[in-house]
């Protein structure tokens, strides 16, 4: 219980510190570190998700069509509600946790255990400035970009390949998509993915900088905790966010009309 409270308190402190130091991103080595993080999290992960994202759209459409015997309208609604709003940000968050979360927490725990964080402090370099801020900002931005990329590919995959599964043409599906698409879908997913990125980065940085002890064995322990808690945080944010933003309206839309 005490450990959990300590982690919550640490997470809040870290988040406040990062928010207060945002202007420090202009400092050259911090900005370089930020760009490196965006590249690692966003660019190098992008190629790996192309097939998965396309497959995601098709599988969801195919399964839903088969189960619900749906028409074009429902197919596009499913693409928007499920793929765009929910699965897209979640899929991107999973990729970020697995690729970046593990790397960041392991790197930081290693730096802490080997005394490199101490060396930074001796050089008068603030750990929040140099290690935490660029990672949190970089991961937030990259998660949002990756989410948009996954959404685009999943929806495109769904639109291109669905005609092979259901009786609807590509143009029919695309026209309906543009009819039903609302800007709120875009804002909702961007905001949610930024929050996901923030939660993942803050959680992984905190566990990386606070390993259970200062031995080599602490590194895998810190990574395990970071990844598990990041995943739980993402699921929690997803549930709370969906309830707060859309509430009954959101769930009502999924219901089949009476």
């Amino acid at each position: 219980m005490l450990q959990a409270l300590r982690e919550i308190e640490g997470g809040i402190q870290l988040s406040l510190n990062v928010a207060a130091r945002a202007p420090r991103l202009r400092v050259a080595p911090i900005f370089e570190s930020f760009l490196r993080q965006v590249y690692f999290t966003g660019v190098t992960a992008a190629t790996g998700v192309v097939l998965r994202a396309c497959g995601l759209g098709v599988i969801i459409i195919a399964v839903m069509m088969d189960m619900l015997d749906a028409d074009v309208d429902l197919a596009v609604k499913i693409l928007l509600l499920l793929v765009f709003r929910e699965i897209g940000p979640l899929a991107a968050a999973v990729v970020v946790i697995l690729r970046t979360g593990t790397a960041v927490s392991a790197e930081m725990a290693m730096m802490r255990v080997s005394g490199q964080t101490r060396a930074l402090r001796y050089m008068g370099i603030d750990l929040y400035d140099y290690l935490v801020l660029p990672r949190v900002a970089g991961i937030m931005l990259a998660t949002a970009a990756l989410t948009l990329y996954v959404q685009f590919l999943a929806v495109l995959g769904g639109l291109v390949l669905s005609p092979f599964v259901i009786e609807a043409s590509f143009t029919e599906l695309t026209d309906r998509l543009f009819d039903l698409f609302a800007p709120v879908d875009f804002y909702y997913s961007v905001l949610k993915s930024l929050l996901f990125g923030f939660a993942i980065a803050a959680c992984c940085c905190w566990h990386g900088l606070n390993p259970p002890d200062l031995t080599q064995n602490a590194v895998p322990k810190a990574v395990t905790r970071a990844v598990t808690q990041s995943a739980m945080l993402v699921l929690l944010i997803n549930a709370v966010f969906a309830y707060l933003v859309f509430g009954i309206l959101f769930f009502g839309l999924v219901k089949a009309p009476a």
């Binding site: 400092v27 050259a28 080595p29 911090i30 790197e107 290693m110 730096m111 080997s114 005394g115 490199q116 101490r118 060396a119 930074l120 001796y122 050089m123 008068g124 370099i125 400035d129 140099y130």
Partner: protein, 200 residues
């Protein structure tokens, strides 16, 4: 009376360590063990003393110093020490330039010039040397990178902590030239070598 750069005292149940390092001099200290060495070097680098320790740096007592003054004192100290190792995911140049880039001074062109001069003086090929990460550098090369990094801030006190640890005889002769290189740049500077009695 001789002006002191460092006055340090730490008494434990097992031993007592005392240091009085005159300004501008070269002082060699042999402390009883690694723990005592770590305490001494940490206290000097942090400009902070723990309970049971007494420390004066450049005539100022480190006890109860306000943070800005402590920072100013710390900026006057440089070290080649395992306590202030290199950052493993940055190459040698990024390691050397990091403090200057972060604090905004001195200009990076000046740092680059200094790095090239010092590395060339030690017979290293600067372009090749600076592009490598610490894991690709030998022990002497890592100490050279740490030495150049500490020279960047033009410290008034240079601490060489276990400088010869892990070096071959030939490499030790190379490392012995660090002091002359420091002297050439800081003629009034103070040099403190710290080692454990077992090593010396």
């Amino acid at each position: 009376m001789t002006e002191l750069a460092v006055r340090y005292r730490r008494k434990t149940a097992r031993h007592e360590v005392q240091a009085a390092v005159p300004k501008g001099a070269v002082t060699r200290m042999h402390v009883p063990d690694d723990d005592a060495k770590a305490h001494l070097v940490t206290a000097v680098l942090k400009a902070r003393c723990e309970p049971g320790e007494e420390l004066e740096l450049f005539g100022e007592s480190a006890a109860g110093l306000p943070p800005p003054r402590r920072e100013r004192l710390r900026a006057r100290v440089g070290a080649v020490s395992p306590i202030v190792g290199l950052i493993t995911n940055l190459n040698a140049w990024e390691n050397i330039a990091l403090p200057a880039a972060y604090h905004g001074a001195p200009p990076l062109e000046q740092v680059a010039m200094l790095a090239h001069e010092v590395l060339a003086a030690f017979g290293a090929q600067p372009r090749h040397f600076l592009a490598r990460i610490p894991d690709e550098l030998g022990m002497l090369e890592r100490k050279m990178a740490a030495f150049v990094r500490s020279l960047v801030t033009a410290p008034e006190l240079m601490v060489f902590d276990a400088l010869e640890d892990g070096l071959s005889y030939a490499e030790c002769r190379h490392a012995a030239r660090f002091e002359a290189e420091y002297r050439a740049r800081q003629p009034q500077g103070t040099v403190l070598y710290v080692d454990t009695r077992e090593d010396s």
